[in-house]
């Protein structure tokens, strides 16, 4: 049995439809102010009608905010990632003090947002051709690493909606294995016609505000976001005088092995992922104080996840307070695991459970009721779920820091 050293979280950064930084995100959560609205910015035939968690900043504004030259090509995913990653690093107190540092970033959209805008142009004029190399999924991580001066290790994980949770897991493992002292981990995905059209073709995109865990839920709203956490070995944090915001004490990943995009009825993959996270942390289910659910509001996910929760916690009486925050931010795909990790740490810092919006009636066959109002509680351990297509189910377990 290898060391189960808790990994310190010493910095966080986030940008989403409910705020341009961590503090703004927190305020929206406790004020119950969602960021889902008809699309305004993305050039799509659905503009003005389809609901999404869009960040109200144009790419030009993002370039300005970051002080970047307009001559270098940065896709929207990368711009969002740069903002969040910079915030995390600044919050922690910087990176460059001789430690081995890695970047593990997650994305599914990659540079697709730029490609779908400029592709037709590439053959006609040279104006946007400098965007061509930004298309592959790995490019954003390379640019973010270069911007922050990270060179010891850089990689990209792309496993659908569990990508960022898996990136966080990998960072923690590399620190535990002694391969890195610090890891900047998280993910970024922006809205794109590619993903909007895709999810609509699967008929799981709701035409109204999504209703996680509600009996009448009828699909998700997409969102865009980026979020990063700085993970450190606790000894390294201690030496540098950094007070952990929280600890990553458990994690798990398991495959549902049922269908490419749907979850099994008994939520086997979700169940196994949660079980593993608890085992790694050495905790019993009764010690969990809050579950930040995946809760996309699709008929299938919420039923499967709800079933898995009941299997883990024994019964609805054993269930800790749980909520999905996707009615605030939308489903941010590869960023979801990271933005929700940030929310989990905020929950521990402020001892507050965030509400599950738009809920009226429990799923008939399960009878489970999420937390619908923000509430203060004693919170020591939080589970955060992220389940992706391909049956890729991940769970993270964060624990309170006494600092």
């Amino acid at each position: 049995m290898i060391s189960t050293t808790p990994i310190a979280v010493t910095g966080m950064g986030a940008i989403s439809a409910i705020g341009n930084n961590v503090a703004a995100n927190f305020q929206s959560l406790v004020d119950s102010k969602p960021g889902i609205a008809p699309i305004q910015r993305l050039d799509t035939c659905h503009r003005g009608r389809l609901l999404a968690g869009e960040i109200p900043m144009s790419n030009a504004e993002l370039y300005d905010r970051l002080g970047l030259s307009g001559e270098t090509a940065y896709t929207r995913s990368t711009l969002l990632g740069l903002l969040a990653a910079t915030e995390a690093v600044e919050h922690a107190g910087g990176l460059n003090d001789g430690c081995r540092i890695g970047l593990v970033s997650a994305t599914t959209v990659g540079g697709m947002d730029a490609t779908e805008q400029y592709y037709d142009d590439y053959l006609i004029s040279g104006e946007h051709r400098h965007f061509i190399p930004t298309h592959p999924c790995g490019y954003a991580a390379e640019q973010i690493a270069r911007h922050l001066g990270i060179s010891d290790f850089v990689t990209t994980i792309s496993t659908a909606c569990s990508s960022a949770a898996n990136a966080i897991m990998l960072g923690a493992r590399m620190i535990r294995a002694g391969l890195l002292d610090r890891a900047l981990v998280g993910g970024t995905d922006c809205l794109s016609r590619f993903t909007i059209n895709g999810f609509q073709s699967l008929m799981i995109y709701s035409d109204s505000h999504c209703r996680p865990f509600d009996d009448h839920r009828n699909g998700l709203n997409l969102g865009e976001a980026a979020a990063y956490l700085l993970l450190e070995h606790p000894d390294v944090a201690g030496r540098c005088g950094r007070k952990p915001l929280a600890y990553l004490t458990g994690y798990g990943n398991a495959n549902d092995a049922f269908h490419q995009t749907a979850s099994s009825e008994d939520g086997e993959g979700a169940y196994l992922a949660m079980l593993q996270a608890l085992n790694v942390a050495g905790l019993a289910p009764a010690e969990i104080d809050y579950v930040n659910a995946h809760g996309t509001a699709t008929p299938n996910n919420d039923l499967a996840e709800g079933t898995a929760l009941l299997r883990i916690f024994g019964s609805e009486y054993g269930l800790p307070p749980f909520s999905s925050t996707k009615a605030f931010t939308g489903h941010t795909l590869a960023a979801a695991g990271a933005i929700e990790a940030v929310f989990s740490v905020l929950s521990l810092r402020h001892q507050v459970i965030f509400p599950n919006l738009n809920f009226e009636q429990p799923i008939a066959s399960l009878g489970i009721v999420p937390q619908t109002e923000p509430v203060n509680k004693i919170i020591k351990h939080v589970l955060s779920n992220s389940f992706g297509f391909g049956g890729n189910c991940s769970t993270l377990l964060f624990s309170k820091s006494d600092d």
């Binding site: 073709s201 699967l202 008929m203 269908h259």
Partner: protein, 84 residues
């Protein structure tokens, strides 16, 4: 009617990549989902796209599809009743 069922069978086989099947193998009344052909939820969505593109019929609720797509015959009946 049988011209439509033949056409439907060919479309189903091609749209759903059922390479091991021929039109002759597909019976009008074999259940397409569940125990018969064993099609899944993604196949149902593809059939909805096919109904729209090839016959101009829009189904907005996937659950409605279950009844319509029970067999090749039920599909043909539905198309005859609703095609533009």
């Amino acid at each position: 009617m049988s011209e439509l069922t033949q056409e439907l069978k060919a479309r189903i086989i091609s749209q759903l990549n059922l390479e091991d099947l021929t039109v002759e193998d597909l019976d009008d009344n074999t259940p397409l989902f569940g125990d018969g052909l064993g099609l899944d939820s993604i196949d149902a969505l593809e059939l909805i796209v096919m109904l729209d593109k090839s016959y101009g019929i829009k189904l907005s609720d996937p659950k409605e599809g279950r009844k319509v797509f029970e067999t090749v015959q039920t599909m043909a009946d539905f198309i005859e009743a609703n095609r533009k």
